[in-house]
Structures are given as C-alpha cells and as structure tokens.
Symmetry: D2
Subunit: 346 residues, 4 copies
C-alpha cells in the first residue's frame, strides 16, 4: 500500500535475470564490453536513428552530465520551475556544467510554454555579456505533474530554441511511461520534434540502477566519455548496468512495465475522481496521480496504512496528494485504495 513513488519498487524479474546472466566470465571493464557496445544498436532500433548511448547510474547524473554537454559554464538553461533538475538534484547541474544556471519558467501542469521560453531568451539577449547566454532548454517528459507534452507542444518549444541557437534536453526519467501514455513512438517524442539529447530512465520503471544519456546528433557526444568519467559515472563493471538496459529494451519489457504502471494509475485517477471531495489537480497521463483531498481523507488513508506524498494546498485546509503506481503495483492494492477512499468519503 505504498504509493509514495515508483522508486520504492524493486527490480523487475526479467531485469534481475539479465543481471544474473551477465555474471559469466570476464569482461573488459569500464564499458569496453559486449553488453555495453551492444546498446548502440538496441537504442538505434528503438529510436529509429543513429545514436550515441552512454549508460550510467543515476538520473541526476544523466541530467546534469547531459546538460554539461550542451551548455557552457556561462550559459542559462531553461526548465519548468518545478522540474526535477532545478528542485530535486541539489545543484548537480551547476556542478557538472561548471556554473551554468537553471532558470525556472512557470506553466500549468508542469509544462512550460514556447512563449515563455521566447520571452526569457528575448529578455536575456540584448544585455550582452552582463547576462548569462541562453544555452539550453530542458523538458521533462513525462513532467513532474504526471502530464505529457504533445509532440506539437514540444515542436513549438524546440522551434523557439533552434531559432535562438540553443539546445534541447529531455529529462526522460519516466520516458517509458510517456511513450505508453502518449501512444507516440520514441522517435516522434524526441529527435523528430527537435530533442538533441535525452536522459533515458530505466530505474523508476523496473531497473536496479541504470540510466542512459542518448545523443541524437552523434557529433555532440564527442567529449561525453570524458565528462562521464570525471563525473564518476564510468562503472568498472559496466556490463551489469548495460545488461539492465538491454534487458529493459528487449521484448518490449520497458513498454509492458510502463503500461502496467500507467494502467494502475489511470484506475486510481478515474475511481478517486468520482469520490466526493476529491479533485484531480492535474490530468493523469502516466503513472502519477495528483489529488486535492480533505484533511480528513488524507488522515484517514494514512491511518489505514496507505503511503503517499502529502502537502498543504493554500489556505483552505485542503491537502495535496501524489500517488504513484509502479510496475509492481497490483490491482488489489488499487482496489484497496479506492475502497478506503470511498468509505472515508461517505
């Protein structure tokens, strides 16, 4: 009954098996192994284009190293004001870029607008060297609000970016959920709509600790192996990271796991939205549900052992809840949650 995050889940059995299978014989360390070199073809297949792929261990490292490859230390990097990169990574991007600045932009439901980006760039530009140089924009897909950018929304933003000569990063910590939730292909969500580099997450969706930075313009990856090494992310036994990613992408496992999680979240969303006194704060597009509930409802659910993120919503005693479904969330757990909420509402 733990809906706090998809990070609370363990490792999908297929991925655990892939790790065990990788534990055979010796392998060249530091990523010069077969499992790692095989990733290039796997990702190229998934994304329908040539890519440069760099496996590493955490989403924070993926995001901040990816940004360091596209933003100079005197650069400004635009993102949503609630984005993980600016709110939850303790300044990792500042560290890895050597001092570039994240600039938070507002926007409903976790999404920035092309117009806000254009306006931020316009404000910065005429001031010359006194301003940091507009350098990058980072989009989260899915967003921190559990919503999705439509491809045309991405294209509007990347159009502004390209016109201004700045690069586009996508934080895909929940990229599998975004693919499933949108029904779009990985290519249609990324390079075909102007994304230059993707943080491809697997950990939240069933891996143990495996992410990848994916460059769609291979030339931009030229110095990334040194950035990753000095960033402490070149694992000596890299084969075990790469094996996770290979297992994840094989046989559509990544999509199956995300489908399960999204489906459970959709059920939570639909059922609880019908409960009196509960309102959806954001549309549920992937595996996260954001609700406004009463204090009594939140207390009641907690008293019955349900776990979730909870915060105060403004003045009127209302409570915000975030409920996240993972590949391990069962229909029974969802049923239990729904029943509990219905009972408490009566």
């Amino acid at each position: 009954m733990d809906f706090r995050s998809d990070n609370i889940a363990g490792v999908a059995p297929q991925i655990m098996a892939a790790i065990a299978d990788a534990n055979t014989g010796s392998a060249t360390p530091y990523g010069d192994d077969d499992a790692t070199s095989g990733l290039t073809a796997l990702f190229a297949d998934v994304f329908e284009t040539d890519v440069a792929v760099f496996p590493l261990g955490t989403g924070t490292a993926a995001n901040s190293l990816a940004l360091s490859a596209i933003a100079p230390p005197y650069g400004a990097m635009y993102c949503h004001a609630d984005a993980h990169v600016i709110q939850d990574e303790c300044g990792a991007s500042e560290l890895f870029t050597g001092g570039a600045r994240l600039v938070g932009l507002d926007g409903d439901h976790g999404k920035i607008y092309a117009s806000s980006l254009a306006s931020a760039i316009e404000t910065a530009t005429p001031h010359g060297p006194h301003n940091m140089q507009p350098a990058a924009v980072s989009l989260s897909q899915a967003t921190e609000a559990g919503t999705l950018y439509a491809p045309e929304e991405i294209m509007a933003i990347t159009g502004v970016a390209k016109a201004a000569g700045i690069s586009v990063h996508m934080d895909g910590a929940r990229f599998a959920n975004a693919v499933v939730g949108s029904g779009m292909s990985p290519a249609d969500l990324t390079w075909r709509v102007g994304v230059d580099v993707l943080s491809f997450g697997a950990t939240k969706n069933g891996a143990m600790g495996a992410e990848a930075v994916v460059f769609f313009d291979v030339r931009r990856a030229a110095d990334f192996e040194r950035r990753r090494k000095r960033g402490g992310q070149l694992f000596s036994k890299m084969r075990f990271v790469s094996a996770q990613l290979a297992g994840y992408l094989s046989n559509d496992l990544w999509l199956d796991l995300a489908t399960h999680a999204n489906t459970q979240a959709a059920r939570i969303s639909e059922e609880l939205d019908r409960v009196e006194g509960i309102e959806l704060l954001h549309p549920t597009k992937v595996n996260e549900v954001f609700l406004a509930v009463t204090d009594a409802m939140a207390d009641g659910l907690e008293a019955q052992g349900f776990q979730f993120h909870r915060w105060t919503l403004g003045e009127n005693n209302a409570v915000g809840l975030r409920l996240v479904a993972s590949f391990e969330t069962t229909a029974e757990q969802v049923d239990g949650l729904v029943s509990a909420a219905q009972s408490l509402a009566e």
Copy 2:
C-alpha cells in the same frame, strides 16, 4: 586466462544472492532504507569505532567526493605521482573539489615518503596566497604498485599531515587485499594511524558496483550527503548498493575473497620470479604482480591467450607486465600461466 585486472571479474555469488534477497517489497528510496541504515553498525563493527558511511557507485566518485570533503577549492592535495586519483580519474577530483590541485610526489614502489610530503608542504607555505594551501594527502592502500604501507609508514606521513593541519584520505579501492596482505586490522590501517576518511572499495573484490566513503570523525561528514547528491551518487534504489556492501562484510566474505586473490597472486609472483629472465618490479603484497620480462616472453604469453597490461620499460627492450588476480582466478589458471612462462623461458 585474463589477468588484466580484478575489474574483469564478475560478481561473487554471495553478493549476487544478497542483491536478490534485497529485491523484496518496497523500500524508501534515496538511502532511507533499512539496508543502508544498517551499514553504519556493520562498518563500526569492522572498524571498531563510530563511523559515518556513505555508499555510492564507483571508486572515482568515492575518491573525489571524499577529497572534496577535506580540501577547499584553493587547496593542494598530495598523492603519489602514479596514484589512481591523479592518473586514472580524468580530473574527477578537480571537478568535485571545485578546482583543488593534486600534486604528485615521487617514491619507490608506489609509496610516498613522509619526508617528501614535509618538503612539499614547506615549499608551499611561505609563499602565502600565491600558493595553493596544503590541504590533504591521499594514500593508496594497497598502492598502484601492489605494495603496502606499513602502519608506521602511514603514521609518519599522517604525523607530518597533522602537524601541518592537513587531512588524510586513504584510497582503499583494494582495502580488503591490504587488510589480508598486511595481517593488520582495519582499524590499525586507518584511524588508529591517522586516516580521516577512507574510500572503501568492494567492486574490485567481488561486488557489482559498490563503494563507500567512511568518515572516522563523524563531524567531518556533516555536508557529505549534499555533496553525494549533487555528485549524482545518491542512488534512488540505494538498497541494492547497500545490500552488496552488507553481503560483502558479512561472514568475513570480503576477507575470504581477498585472501583467495592475494594467494593466487602470491603464487604467480613466487613461481614467475624463479623463471629465468623474469624479475619482480615490486614486491607482491596483495593481488597484483608487476614483472619485467623479455619481449619474447610477453609475446609468447599473449600468443597463448594470456591477457595482461603491458608497457615498454626504458631502453633495453624489456617489457613491463601487470598481472592481477581476482576472487575468481583459479589455481588452474595460475598453473597454466606458470607453465607457459616456464616453457617460454627454456
């Protein structure tokens, strides 16, 4: 017949089992789980003192984050000129410290001398703000040359350090091999002889990807959780890193694995040292053997499929070889190597 490194080995079965065992139910992410919190007591027991323990993923991250906790960005950090931190980590320490400088000191067999450290500090001090401030010394135990500092050697160095007000880091990427090789207790190799912070390695000795930064003065760890987070090393499913370390320390597994590796290396060293035309470059104290051989010997061994690091030794056509034994190295593999060398020498 792969003697290139202990990194080419896989994961010890007991550690693989510990990982599998950790894959049960949900756990609070980002290190607030039971496996992680349990490490404090485990390490305190091994080191016979209170410690602050921070699991993370790579040795490079352990070293450079540990140094960032004890050296300011305008600091000088002394180490052996061949140390891993200065030679093999692509400037990670410069990144994580924000610009502190590694200063390489010479010394036979991979070890620096207390007198060299004293001299380096004396040279820097009178020059005031024009010089970087002496801040830290980093000792590798075991060293890059497969040798060991005796406790009295460490104490001489740390004595110089303490007198100068600088801190002491130990790179223990092969700390288990050092404990076994020296016959000393973990405490006698570290805090009892003046070490402030240890990079405790497990990956080279049977883990999948698990290291720990261990502070012996718990107060110095105050800001380390933020340093680790911004360094991209706070794994969301940390329980799987911590489970490796817990399994590693349990039932003396870490010492058993290191004993095996050291024993195999000792056999290689003894047997090959008797072969005509082969000379030991450094005494073999842990699991690494450094040899001077003829070109023909090196070529011959490679032709038979033996793998190792090889480099040219000065003018006289001699070849340097590094052979590393791991927990997986078998007696048969060693026998094969010894026989081959003996045959080639005839």
Copy 3:
C-alpha cells in the same frame, strides 16, 4: 546630458590626486604595501568596529568572492529577483562559489521581505539533500530600484537568516549613497543590523576602479586572501587600488560625492514628478530616478540629446526610464533636463 549611469562618470579629482601621490618610490607588491595595510584602520574607523578589508577591482568580483566566502557550492543564496548579482554579473557568483545557486525573491521597489526569505528557507529545508542548502542572503543597499532598506527591515531579514543559520551579504555598490540617503551611520546599516560581509563600492561614486570586501567578523575572512588571489583580484601594484579607497574615505570625500549625486537625483525626481504625464516608479532615495513616461516624452528627450536607460512598460505604450546622477552631474544638466521635460509636456 548623459544620465545613463554613475559609471559613465570619470574619476574625482581628489582620487586622481591620491593615485598620483601613491606613485612615489617602490612598494612591496600584491598588497603588502603601506597604503593597503592602512585601510584596515580607515575602515575600522568608518565602521566603528574591527574589520578585515580586501581591496579589489570590480563590483562583480567583490560580490561573487564575498558570497564564495559564506556559501558552500551546494548552497542556495537568496537575493531580490532584480538584484545585480543575479541579473547583471553573467554567473560570476556561480563561478566563484563553485556552483552555489542564486534564488531570486520578489518584492516591491527592489526589496525582499523577511517573510519571503523565511518562506523560501522553509520550503527548502525538509527536502534534505535533494535541495540545495540555504546558505546566504544578499541585500543590495541601495537597491537596484534606487530605494533603501530601513535598518529595521534589514534586521527583520537578518533575524530570519540568523535563525536559519545562514549568512548575510550586503551589495554596497552604492553604499555611500545609501549612507547619505538614509542618514544612518555605516555601522547602523551593516553589522549592527546583522550584516556579515559587505561589498563596499567606490567606483560608481568617483573612484577609478576600487572596491573592497569588508568582513565584520574577522574570523570569517581566514581564507579570503586565497580566494581573492585565485580569483585574479590580487593586483600586483595594489597600492594604486588602495590609494583610491584611502582617498575616498579621507575627509568625508565619499559622503560629499554621494551627497552631491543624491541631491541632483532628488531634484530630478521632484521636478519631473510634477510634470504632467510623468510618474515615479519608485521613491527616489539615492541617486537613481525611475520614471514612467509617455513614448513621446522619451523620444523627445532623446531627440534633444538626453541619454538614459529606457524600456517598455507593459501594454499601454508607457515607457520606463532610469536616470542616474553621479558626483559629476551638474545643476545645469539637471536644469536642462527639467526644462526639456516641461516643454515636452506642454
């Protein structure tokens, strides 16, 4: 007729004379000269307390080096959203702190509120290592809007800061104007109300290129000489920087120059506020006047050769103007401006 900035002015004759006087004989370089060592007593006298004083060359260096002495690289530094440190220094603070983040807070007339600071700190704290650590607050006195914090406003803010264990920086690029404009003593505007370190500006008020970082808690200055050196601000012929500061502080020159500038700005403000169609955007407390005027007025003044900063104010065609008076601004220049505006309004 150039009202663009106080930076467009030259050097006050008394300061030029002090520079010329310093050009006698040899002097120990890098700040170990008499002029520099004499600054400690001069500043101690002005501030009525023991201080540590570090002369340097630019306001950007003063601000960012001062912040680097009080904020760790994983720290958050709060300031007004329009402050010079966040808007006009191209990320210098990020560079010199090694990655700390400036967090802009809103507030009318260029001033932040104690309550906003308290709220920002409260939001960051419970999230642990995921958030940057609240570390410092930077107040501009005078502000970017030409206004002043009252001592009780400063005390409310520094009270919040002290309660949270964070340090207080004051950007005093126009500190002389603030002293004159407030009628308060330097001590009453700084350490007596909780300021830890001050960027003391002289350049905008008649010096050639001379600023000082002043620590009121001398112990906090321990490493500043190295920070200044590595920051490229330890001038070899420091006597010429220090001579500017000594000349500036002698015989109340700094206050006389600021009194002149403030007086001219007050006249501009009072006279133009009476002109139909012109409104003050901020109260005029020092030497900067912010006005809302019509497009026609702005165009007309420019056509007559008046220079100022100009920007568009929202939707209704109104134009914002910033007019700055310096120690060189003459009564005739002000008369000319006032007459021109009056004529244009008729």
Copy 4:
C-alpha cells in the same frame, strides 16, 4: 636599492598622463568606450595581423581566462614546472577552466622542450577517458628564469601541439622585455610561430594595472567577453585600463621602458658575473638576473640595504638571488649594487 621585482615600481609618467587624459567627460561603461575600441587597431598594428583584444586588470586573470578559452574542464594544460601559472596563481587556472589541470614539465633555464611535450601527450593519449585530454600548452616568454625561447624553439613546441590538436598560450607578463631582448618582432614571437592566444602584460613594465588577452584567431574569442565578465574582469570604467594600454603602445613607449630595464639588468649581470664567488644561474636575456652567491655576499648586500629574492641552493651553503630591474631602475642604483658586491668580494 630595491631589486625584488619589477612590480615594486610605480607607474611610468607617460602612462599616468594617459590616465589623466582619459578623465574627461562621460564614457559608456563596461568597455563600450572609444579608448577600448581603439585598442583593436593598436594591437593589430603592433602584431601585424587581425586580433581580438580584451583588456583586464591582472596577469593572473589574463592567464587563467585565456587558458579557459582553449582548454575544456577535462583538459590537461602543459607548462614548465616553475611557470607562474602553476606556481604563483593559487589555482586560478583551475578555477577559471572549471577544473582543467596544469601539468608541469621539466626543462633547463625555465624552458620546456618540444620532446617533453610530445612525450607527455603520448603518455596521456592511449589511456582514453581515464586520462585528462591534452588540451593546451602554456609558454612563458620571457620565462620565469629570465630567459627567452628562440622562435625556432617555440615553433618546435607549437608544431608538436598542432600535430596533437592542442592550443598554444603564451604568458607574456614580460612580453615587452622579450621583444626587446630577442630583437624579434611581436608577430615573429607569437602567431607566426604558432601561438594562439597571448597574455600581454603591461603592469610589470610601467602600467598601473593593465593587461590584455590577445587572440590571433579572432574566431576563438567568440565567448571571451562572457568569460571575462563572469570572471570579474569587465571594469565598469574600462577606459582607464584601456588608456594605460594605449599609452603603453604609443610612440614605442613599451619598448623604450623595456629597453631601459633590460639594459640595467644586462649591466648587473655582466658586472656581477665578473665578481669572484658570484655565478650566473641562467643567462640574462631580459630584465631578471639570477645568481649563485655566498652566504656572506647575500648577507653583506642585505646589510647595506639591497633588496632581492633569496633562497638556499642545495647543500653547499650557496645562496640563490634574483635581482630584477624595472623601467625605474637607475644607473646609479646599479652602480651602487656593483660596487657593493665588488667590495664584499675583496
């Protein structure tokens, strides 16, 4: 009788006059003034090629910002082991490059060899991302030993650099003395022999505080204005820095001042070299004289009020002295020194 450094001298009267002349009327701040824009043509004339010129305040800033423009944060920057950038700037290059590493190479008389550079690059290259990437070489002209690289020596070094794809910086803190001492043209000492970017010093040779970073490939200067700004070196009243440089370059003043200093040093060198018990440590090519003397000689000179840098030379009680002549050093001062040494030697 102060021979400690050329930094102990004041400001040449012609430069003081240029500063005073610049103090007329208002000027656009932050380098958008006529004096600053005029520097481009002046430097182009001196160097006989198109250049991009950036005035700033200190040699440390010039060197470290110049290096930041040509070395990535994961780069290795080669220099002589005694170079100012590695020995005397407290890690400024590490700060401004964001973590690149200075690698000191040995060489007699303050000069590195092309072969040493080639060897250092060869060692680093095959190790891939584990090594920092060879990125730049920094040559001091004149050197820290008061010697000069011949153009063919520079060309040998820059040839190695170009072949390896790395950039060439020249630390010209005493560039005027090098031009005069070598009898070569500025162009023949720099871009014609492969130098990409020059730290052009004026302060040691008569300016108050004025240096310039000069790019010979203008395209490489694209981001330097932002690097300078965030580095705290964009002076608001830049006209006073630029006026120094303009005055310095006008009417061959810079060469006249250096000729004077070199001539005085040559006399010291020739005369003292004839004194029994005194030996030259390095050939005297510019305005610095390095001597080995007896303890008694050093003590005797100091007792008579002569000032110089002094250090212990190895075991045999000999003392090293550095004597520096400046544009202010008089023939009488040199006579006095020579007489004193002669008397002490009798």
